[in-house]
Symmetry: C2
Subunit: 450 residues, 2 copies
């Protein structure tokens, strides 16, 4: 990997909390953890498929590309049905790569909520358009996407013959066991496989993310190449001061031990918004268990400097910040001169907007540092597929190490079941009757009108 295109991490402004010596002290534990990942001996070792995914997925890329090309011929929009990792990977990539003002409307998302009004509006919209569907669900029984898939088949049946509809549905599901696999085989949908050892939040570089990203018009070969280069780098360099994934994992673990319980991922580009959402799932779901974990949150700057900025600067000191700073942008727009200078900004006339944004970033990080908000900066060389692939892998590797440092299994998510079990009971699912009665008792007791 060309070092000038590699994502880097600068931790200098953590120096009131962490220095190189503190990071180096974690090196032996990090060595053990990294070995346990590559040897597949760590906690959660049945979900380590993501480690080699940038290499193992290569053979699938031609068919994914070809399918994306066909979808482009068939349809105005691809409607992706999925939630959690089956939503955030593709969504974050498309938003990251799209024009930040106009967006990219080729791919629509459905089944990521249970909002009746959102659902009805989307269904009405697609009746007027040519669409394909990518239903993404390992099991096929996750409630949100399952409902959406029923709704969309029902709607599109008004528009397409049964045979035509089958050619417009693409399934991304497990290899053999699940309900969606069964439907897929029965109906003859073209399908892509989510391997059993790939968890949802680690699936963006599998067909889960790659098919929608390709259908939106982006270069998945470059995306995977970036991830593969970062994967190789993580195999080759296990130095906690040199490998940004390890530096990041070690630094945040140390900050957590010092009472920094909230992390803000801040960027200065609106295109990064959903990357923040993806990151929140990756870190929150991997670390937030056993009553542990850093609460992950994100901010868009300078927008949020005019909302959360006050808290960041002077509020309760429980937060640290990680900046994602884009190094090179594709616009040379400059600030026009104003002979009247009524806004007193002529001292920056002729400078690029991006230069001002960059000085805002520098001003912010030193202001936050001075306000005892420790921060580090991850430099993102370019906004393109190759760099994004690196970034996905970097964060995946980092959260694996950071979760294991914390002493949790970073690859499970037992707590996600709790609301589902309650919801099934309240909806009257057979075999949940005892739970339903208990919840009904609690609802009556609460006396809620909701």
């Amino acid at each position: 990997m060309n070092p000038s295109c590699r994502i880097s991490l600068n931790t200098a402004l953590l120096n009131h909390y962490i220095d190189d010596k503190a990071l180096t002290a974690l090196q032996p534990r990090v060595n053990e953890i990294v070995s346990s990942l590559f040897n597949k001996t760590c906690a959660g070792n049945d979900f380590l498929g993501w480690i080699d995914l940038p290499m193992t997925i290569q053979k699938e890329l031609p068919r994914i590309r070809e399918t994306a090309r066909r979808i482009h011929e068939q349809a105005d929009h691809l409607v992706c049905i999925g939630i959690g990792g089956s939503y955030l990977g593709a969504k974050s990539a498309i938003e990251f790569l799209a024009d930040p003002f106009t967006g990219n409307r080729r791919v629509l998302f459905f089944g990521q909520n249970i909002s009746a009004e959102y659902s009805e509006s989307l269904l009405q919209y697609i009746l007027q358009k040519q669409v394909c569907v990518n239903v993404i669900s390992k099991s096929g029984t996750t409630t949100e996407p399952a409902i959406a898939f029923r709704l969309i088949r029902n709607t599109l049946a008004k528009k397409y013959s049964e045979n035509e509809l089958k050619k417009r549905i693409y399934a991304t599901t497990d290899r053999a066991r699940g309900v969606m696999r069964h439907i897929t085989d029965e109906q003859g949908y073209e399908s892509f496989i989510i391997e059993d050892d790939i968890g949802g939040r680690f699936s963006v570089l599998s067909p889960v993310g790659l098919l929608p990203i390709a259908a939106a018009g982006y270069d998945i070969d470059a995306l995977v190449a970036g991830a593969a280069d970062m994967a190789q780098f993580c195999r080759d360099n296990r130095n906690v001061l040199e490998n940004p994934a390890l530096t990041y994992a070690a630094a945040r673990f140390s900050l957590y031990q010092q009472g920094k319980l909230v992390e803000i991922l801040s960027s200065f580009e609106p295109s990064f918004t959903f990357l923040g959402e993806w990151w929140k799932q990756l870190f929150g779901e991997s670390e937030g268990k056993d009553l542990k974990g850093i609460y992950p949150t994100s901010a868009n700057l300078t927008t949020d400097l005019h909302s959360l900025g006050q808290f960041m600067q002077e509020g309760r000191r429980l937060v640290f910040e990680t900046f994602l700073m884009l190094q090179q942008v594709g616009s040379r727009l400059v600030i026009p001169d104003d002979p009247a200078n009524s806004d007193q900004l002529n001292f920056i006339s002729g400078r690029t907007i991006d230069d001002v944004n960059r000085q805002a970033f520098l001003g912010t990080k030193f202001a936050h540092y001075a306000g005892d908000l420790p921060n580090m900066t991850m430099t993102i060389p370019l906004r393109n597929e190759y760099v994004l692939g690196q970034l996905y892998y970097l964060f995946e590797f980092a959260v694996a190490v950071s979760g294991l440092l914390l002493g949790v299994n970073p690859f499970n998510q037992p707590g996600v079941e709790a609301y589902k079990q309650n919801m099934f009971a309240l909806l009257g699912k057979p075999e949940y009757e005892a739970k339903r009665l208990e919840l009904q008792r609690q609802i009556d007791q609460e006396g809620t009108a909701a």
Copy 2:
């Protein structure tokens, strides 16, 4: 106010932390605080214009409505230039009221960031459209909107004559002193006034919010009426158990004292997303000072139950949650039956999507409660202007009380200046030379490439 249309708050699921007795214990202090607000004797008493704003703004409504009508005739889009409170109020209202899938594209936002690519793309887009501009800035010197205003005048000068352009620019600014007032009077823009005693985050019910909201096609009379009814209710009812603004303020203060340092505002409708952003500014900027304050963050459910849900259920216990639950939605969409029942969902065939969403909410709150995530529920009767007006006022009143309980001045934001000062210095603003040299020394020391 018709009680069936009034927002209510249920705190039953805080009972492991707070009960009515604990809330009642705060009544004397709350009485003092509420009196100090109405008597204007509290900290920050030069910024209490929001208290009577729903009444005092009434006389401006006809001209705002009339201007919105004219903008509708003149233009495809109104481009609103503003940041912080000059952005989030209108943005949150429009997103709350718009179709949650298609959105409302009548109003575009600019100057809420310094992204070069966003700026360039927006400017290119508006060259093809008929537009008006609403520049919203008390002073006229806030960097982000000032840059955007330069850019947009420069771009629109290619399209409209000087005279025509003047008729398309509407300024919302201070009465007498600021730079924007000077430009406005000089150029003869139609203008609206932000009173000196209205802070940015309390300005949604002033022309700052109302003109864009009206231009987007919404009923500002109903919005203001809802706020006025809640304002009257807050004057009349100072009981901490009966007035939801006071209950909310007292409950969160008590939770904070018990180590709940992060609040998640959760909703089950995507239309609530930017209401969460508005709320984050209101609470974060009002409370986050003197090293105090609850860190405000928001979630979209059930979407985020598949990302943050794991942390909420089982992660570090420093969080409490406030649900905003919409009671009545405008869609009766139902789940189609599937004779094959391959997804095993036939037990909910024929039920409305909204009913499922509602059971997901109930399931979630009891799951979180069982997981020691204390939560309360604010019930929002309808998604309309009248209810939204209530909600804005309720939160404004609540944060005033809650900030004063915390012992801070809820109406200033001294910390927002820090990054600006640094940015000005780094951009070489005259008179900032000493600061610039100091920052340059820090930058060199950090050895950052960014």
